[in-house]
């Protein structure tokens, strides 16, 4: 197992709810509610990589956006370095933006195609007043060099770069501000495996070098396993299991995690496929039924699961492996 660097809590999310009302009709009456994030609590230690996995629509991106202040928050609290960061405005909001940076999935839409690499990376420095004049160019060049570019790339336009190169520009743009927390929302999903390997290696090096904390959002279990110290599994706006990467992969406690892991096709042709095929589609987060969010698809659901929402409770052998299931099983 990897060593678990813990020198203090960086981010605390408490009972976070993000709901979006759906309004219809002439009077714009509230018809139903999309419960994208439904009571999520988690803490990130300084210097750790926390992986958030789940299928599309489970709320992992919404959660990431809420931390950066890109989404409305219905209730709950988020503390960064011990201070609440909800509803900040003006100078305080700018400060937060500097310390919490995001890398988005699609580098083709997150970089302005008509700006040069130099402009893209330097704009943050200017906005935050961190550097002036030639210092901007110096710092930009240093950071671009760190992520693998040279001087000749400085004045190329974003559209001239390949997907992997663009993702490295996005990384330089975030890191030049010396943030503490980086939200990585599917940073390699749009890339080929060989390019993905380069970016993942770079992300790991930078994390150690700058002592960064990552919230690593991905649907790819292999990538999350390789990158993260701890993992949270999300389903329909809830975190259903949370624990160290090793424990979640080896001794998954929640039936959903178990099924998710078994769905992953194995590259070894000698391993007989033993996947559990789930019936039905993932339910929509629009007005979900009461009880456990996974109950309608769970092969082991009992009557109690359809009535009571299970809470995250300690399971397994270590004090930080939690799962939200009434009838947990050890695989």
């Amino acid at each position: 197992m990897m060593d678990h660097p813990s020198d203090g809590t960086l981010l605390t999310i408490e009972a976070l709810y993000v709901h979006f009302p759906i309004r219809e009709g002439v009077m714009s009456r509230r018809r139903s509610t999309v419960k994208a994030v439904n009571g999520v609590s988690l803490t990130l230690e300084r210097g750790e990589v926390f992986g958030l996995v789940g299928e599309s629509g489970c709320g992992k991106t919404t959660l990431g956006r809420a931390v950066v202040g890109l989404g409305p928050i219905t209730s709950g609290s988020i503390y960064f370095n011990g201070r609440s960061i909800i509803g900040l405005t003006g100078q305080e909001a700018r400060e937060r933006a500097r310390h919490i940076q995001v890398i988005f999935q699609d580098p083709h839409s997150s970089l302005h195609p008509r700006k040069t690499a130099c402009d893209l990376v330097g704009v943050g420095l200017k906005l935050h007043g961190l550097a002036k004049g030639y210092e901007v160019d110096e710092q930009v060049l240093a950071m671009l060099k760190r992520v693998g570019f040279s001087v000749e790339h400085l004045y190329r336009y974003a559209h001239e770069f390949s997907g992997g190169q663009r993702q490295r520009i996005a990384l330089a743009r975030a890191l030049v501000l010396h943030p503490e927390l980086l939200i990585l929302d599917e940073p390699t999903s749009a890339l080929d495996v060989s390019v993905q390997a380069q970016i993942l290696n770079l992300l790991k090096e930078l994390q150690r070098e700058f002592h960064l904390t990552y919230l690593f959002i991905s649907h790819d279990l292999g990538v999350v396993r390789y990158m993260s110290h701890r993992i949270g599994v999300m389903y329909l706006g809830h975190i259903v299991e949370i624990g160290s990467t090793d424990e979640v992969f080896r001794q998954s406690q929640h039936p959903y995690t178990h099924i998710l892991l078994s769905s992953l096709p194995s590259m070894d042709p000698d391993v007989p496929p033993n996947r559990i095929v789930l019936e039905g589609d993932p339910p929509t987060p629009i007005d979900p039924p009461p009880g456990c969010p996974f109950a309608p698809r769970c092969p082991e659901a009992q009557d109690r699961c359809r009535l009571e929402d299970p809470e995250l409770t300690l399971r397994g052998n270590t004090p930080n492996h939690l799962s939200a299931c009434h009838y947990p099983h050890i695989s």
Partner: protein
């Protein structure tokens, strides 16, 4: 499994005449498929997997052109039949499932009608009512609950997994002998991917069709295919049974590709990454395309195009490293 030959692609060459120059998309691509066999095409973006699939259906649009080669399907050379004949083959004998079901389905026609339409086009003797009935039966066969009701839905009312099922139903309703599946599960979540892969596997057995499975996911390939071909920059670099290629890869590119996948990597160590970048396809090929990135490059790799060597039985690789160990094909 019968080993009767179904499809034989020989020295296929496809070029695109773009404003930036001639893109050499496929260079002498050769492979064959037997009846009731699932062949996987693996490789990264731009290696020519999808171009190969489209070339088989003769769906290469200008500025692209099939320059050379033969595609023998059940004895006929598809590059020589006329367009009206080709239209009959497409959809009835060879069908194709695309990556994005939402984009491939017509958004303003109900799901059931789209399937019935496919039937009516290929079988003039059929009437509306029986085509509709067959469409509903097919929807039931692909595991859509309440098929009669679902056949009246529009594609936008269906989820991603459901649309892909409709797409599969549409492609298999004519009982084609070859199904080309171009990244059929890449747009889907893993639990839905598991459902779709199981479905394709069971249907293929049921209607006894062959599948050309294009995917960049080697896990999907290991689970669904009998044989596989690895492509790099418009060339087939290695081909053989899935077991042989994944367990005993011979070509340096295949070996590197397998190592870059993070699934079973040790988190303590950096992931293996292939140095350099994918080569430009604008230059005509004069050497091994992988030579600039290969760990074992020799002088001749930079001067000649490596021939294909037989490794063991059906297993073959296009690399000079094979020369001393194996005979040339």
């Amino acid at each position: 499994m019968s080993s009767e030959l179904l499809l034989k692609v020989q020295d296929l060459k496809v070029r695109f005449y773009t404003l930036r120059g001639v893109v050499h998309a496929l260079e002498r691509v050769s492979f064959h498929m037997n009846r009731q066999e699932t062949l996987g095409l693996a490789g990264e973006t731009g290696c020519g997997k999808s171009v190969t699939a489209r070339a088989i259906l003769r769906l290469i649009d200008p500025p692209g052109r099939i320059e050379d080669g033969t595609i023998h399907f059940e004895g006929r050379n598809l590059l020589e039949v006329d367009e009206s004949e080709m239209r009959k083959i497409r959809g009835s004998e060879i069908s194709m499932i695309m990556q994005e079901p939402k984009v491939s389905l017509n958004p303003v026609i109900r799901a059931g009608k789209q399937i019935a339409e496919t039937l009516l086009i290929h079988d003039r003797s059929l009437n509306q009512t029986s085509a509709r009935k067959q469409a509903v039966d097919m929807l039931a066969q692909v595991g859509i609950p309440d098929p009669a009701k679902m056949s009246r839905r529009y594609p936008h009312e269906l989820s991603g997994g459901m649309s892909q099922r409709v797409m599969i139903a549409m492609m298999l309703v004519t009982r084609p002998r070859l199904l080309i599946a171009d990244e059929p599960t890449s747009a889907l979540d893993v639990t839905i991917q598991a459902q779709i892969l199981e479905l394709i596997k069971s249907l293929v057995r049921e209607i006894q069709t062959s599948v050309l499975m294009i995917t960049h996911d080697l896990g999907v390939m290991a689970e669904t295919c009998d044989r596989m071909a690895v492509m790099y920059a418009g060339n087939v670099v290695e081909m053989g049974s899935v077991h042989a290629v994944l367990k005993n890869p011979q070509h340096p590119y295949t070996q590197s590709l397998l190592q870059t996948v993070p699934d079973n990597a040790n988190p303590e160590q950096p992931l293996f990454s292939i140095r350099g970048n994918v080569p430009s396809l604008l230059e005509p090929q004069t050497n091994c395309m992988f030579a600039p990135r290969c760990e074992y490059t020799m002088d001749r790799c930079k001067q000649q195009i490596p021939p294909t060597y037989a490794v063991d039985g059906d297993h073959q690789a296009a690399c000079f490293l094979m020369e001393n160990k194996h005979e040339c094909r």
